[in-house]
Amino acid sequence: MSFRGRVTRPRLAAAGLALGLGWLVGYPLLITATEAFGGGAPWTLDHFKAFAERGDEWTALGRSLWISAASVVLSALVGVPLGFFFERTEFPGRRLLGGLVALPVALPPLVGVIAFLFLYGESGFISRAVAAVLGLTGPPWRLAGAGAILLVHTYSMYVYFYLFTRAALARLDGSVLEAAANLGASPMRILFRVTLPLLRPALAGAALLTFMTSLASFSAPYIFGGNFRVMTTQIVASKLNGDLEMARVETVMLAGLALLALWGLRLLDPGDDLAATVRGVAPSRRQLTRPLAKWGAAVAGWSLSLFLLLPHFTLVLVSLVPAGTWTTEALPPVLFGGNYSTLFSRPESLKPLLNSAWMATVATLGALFLGFLAARSSLRVKGRLGRLLESLVSLPWAIPGTVFAVALATTFSIHKPQAGRFLLIGTPWILPLAYLLRNLPLTGRAAFSGLRQLDPSLEEASASLGAGPWRTMWKILLPMVRPALAAGAALAFITALGDFVTSIVLYTLDTRPISIEILASLRLQDTGLAAAYGVLLMTLSASAFVLWGRQGERV
């Protein structure tokens, strides 16, 4: 075997993989963009002109932007102080509560939205309680429009700021803060001149994640938006109305906005410039010694956690309410487990569960395989080809789910093998494919970070002991990156299991997943069944997180 041959084989494999990923990830977006310009028959700007002339389109675009920006601000206002509180203050129950506070992230978006509906909606628990206390005859508020969307966004996205702040504070070099104090800085001055500037990379990361998630958010605007349309709901409305040309133009505009936002927000990220050259020990937590402060903090922590867990409790309670038995009472008069037995005994109710389970499993396995292969290949060949593979794996993260769904619907709605297009719409394979591609960044990023953390000499040690590339991969690399892969797979699985945004564009009656069935149950006023589906999703999500945690502990 020649030296040249050994070098080119991994490069050839990487080039093949890049082509395949390009076809799966980039090609549908390209097709959608070209078709928005008429697809060459002939090329035209008419669809874009029509978009530009419609005021509601600009309004939706503007709303997407300001809702995302406001979500970032509100999430930061909640998440950052919470992060400081739980990371820097020691009080009874801190560890447990610190974990509970992150729970909203495990709630699939649609489930979170319906939990809010049951809690703060016109006939929700809190609304009824407030109305009863104030003696009102109607609901005290309407959970609709921008306010409702922002409430749900803040609830589900403050966790990014909370987790990032805590992680950054734990990494902070305590001696830097001591140096500032030694130079005479007051606690407030240390906070604003030292701590917060050092947290900037973490805060920028959380802001980026929140902004992008918010821009792609669909469930909250769809359920609470009504006439308050943002770009994601506008796209689905155009598609459902059969205005495919407009849907494509809206898709291109939203994709452009997302990429522009990503680029803009990346400019704010100081990158590694702020990384300390010498790693110190994290600052110690403030011990609350006075009983009043100590127990006050504990009570505040517990109350906050209970408040944050209210949507979860509500969902469980509503899932135990038989259809049509709860009308004007403050609390449901009858509770039973019938909704759950219906879920598993009625074939048409069981079907969405089975659909979601197999589609999420297949998609996760596929994303795991492709993500690992791309990461391994990219890190082996390095250079431009390596970077291309990494970009392709990450691309679906920057593109809102609605955009991806429309792109897949456009590309795989005709059979033209010579153009790399196959008829997948209407088949059981389009949704698993969509889930796979949407979750590729989760498994791919996990594989990249897992492999990057490995000492390269481990692979060399294995080779020096006579192991070939496959044995090294099977016996050394895979077992060692298993925690990272398990984390990525768990997140990918729960995301696919609870997916709503791509499902609503691509599902068929035979492949309808849980989220679509929740929506159908809500429309039929069968809130108990919808909540039962929600509880099931929530439980599976929590189980996936526990499994993730356990996998992480093993090595």
Binding site: S2, L458, A461, A463, S464, G468
Partner: protein, 369 residues
């Protein structure tokens, strides 16, 4: 009979882009010999080891082991054992599983694997550690597990990459002794890479000094110390003072030098020959200079500018007054007992009779000392 060129490296050359990291290296290592590759950072010693291991491929040249050309063989098929700088132990496997890894790769039978793992762990004094996880053992023990793992599959050649650099000084001394004993007991041909002279001298039967990708000198430790062949070896291996002078006479490989600014005539080894009258630089080891009780011919008067106490012996840094014949004051280092002189004291120094002879290099055009 042992093969005197069991490992033969010829014209080994390697570039990384525009960086020429290894320049036509040629070396021969006898069967059972321990050769230490010594050099500063960037000298090419690690690249040489990685080429030997098969983790890099040479641009040209050959590597033969027992007569077999291996430079194009993948690492997995070379049959060499390697101990990595940070050990590269597999953290998800136990001590025993780590040692067994190479044996399983070679499809040894289970019973043989168990026997071999036990024997290897006994060899490195870790007989009861088979079931331990890596987090449960110390750095020194991890180093020995790495050695047992590398030796278990009966490799043809053992490669050690800075094997002791992660250990604290006390542990390093003990582990170095154990490492040497284990290698000697097995009698395996070993190549060791290190940037520490003490480690190279203690572990290596011979030492190869690398600098800027070039092989400077190969020899037994005392050869390198007492007869350095290049200026780099003379300065990198051990301490020395550098003085200038001119050759008075030449007798084979020995030369007599009149030291500039003094009435001293020093005899030393001529490294690159020379003719009477040539300007030369003379490198003298600190233990070759001794304090003189009183002024006499051949004694240099100098002030003690620094005293570095080192227990049994102390290193004295001396400086002569500036004179017209030298561009600057002469700086000398003398190794003597701890109370031989005080800082600030003016003392007499002469060339002793017992230390290594000075080494004489021709002065490079334009160079000043």
């Amino acid at each position: 009979m042992k093969d005197s060129s069991f490992l033969a490296i010829e014209n080994l050359d390697k570039r990384f882009g525009s960086l020429h990291v290894l320049k036509k290296i040629a070396l021969e290592v006898a069967e059972g010999e321990i050769l230490a590759l010594l050099g500063p950072s960037g000298s090419g010693k690690t690249t040489a080891l990685r080429l030997l291991a098969g983790f890099e491929t040479p641009d040209s040249g050959s590597i033969r082991v027992g007569g077999e050309e291996v430079s194009r063989l993948p690492a997995a098929r070379r049959g060499f054992g390697m101990v990595f700088q940070h050990y590269a132990l597999f953290p998800h496997l136990t001590v025993g599983q780590n040692v067994a890894f190479g044996l399983e790769t070679r499809n040894w039978k289970e019973a043989e694997i168990q026997q071999r793992v036990a024997a290897m762990l006994a060899l490195v004094d870790l007989a009861d550690f088979e079931g331990r996880r890596l987090g449960e053992i110390s750095g020194g023990q991890q180093q020995r597990v790495a050695l047992a793992r590398a030796l278990a599959p009966e490799p043809r050649l053992l490669l050690l990459d800075e094997p002791l650099s992660n250990l604290d000084p006390t542990l390093r001394e003990r582990t170095r002794r154990q490492l040497r004993q284990a290698i000697e007991r097995i009698g395996i041909t070993t190549i060791l890479v290190t940037h520490e002279q003490e480690e190279a001298f203690h572990l290596g039967d011979r030492v190869a000094v690398l600098h800027g990708g070039e092989l400077q000198q190969v020899g037994r430790p005392e050869e390198l110390y007492e007869h350095p062949r290049t200026r780099f070896v003379a300065s990198f291996v051990g301490r020395s003072s550098v003085v200038s002078g001119h050759l008075e006479s030449v007798d084979g490989s020995l030369g007599r030098v009149a030291i500039a600014g003094t009435d001293c005539i020093w005899e030393g080894h001529l490294v690159e020959g020379g003719r009477p009258g040539d300007e030369v630089e003379v490198r003298v080891r600190p233990e070759s200079l001794v304090f003189a009780a009183e002024p006499a011919p051949g004694v240099i008067s100098a002030e003690v500018v620094e005293r570095r106490y080192g227990g049994a012996m102390t290193l004295y840094f001396l400086q002569t007054p500036k004179c017209e014949e030298t561009p600057g004051p002469m700086k000398l280092e003398v190794m003597a007992r701890g109370n031989a002189a005080r800082a600030g004291e003016v003392v007499g120094v002469r060339l002793g009779e017992t230390g290594p002879l000075p080494t004489i290099f021709p002065i490079e055009p334009g160079a000043t000392i």
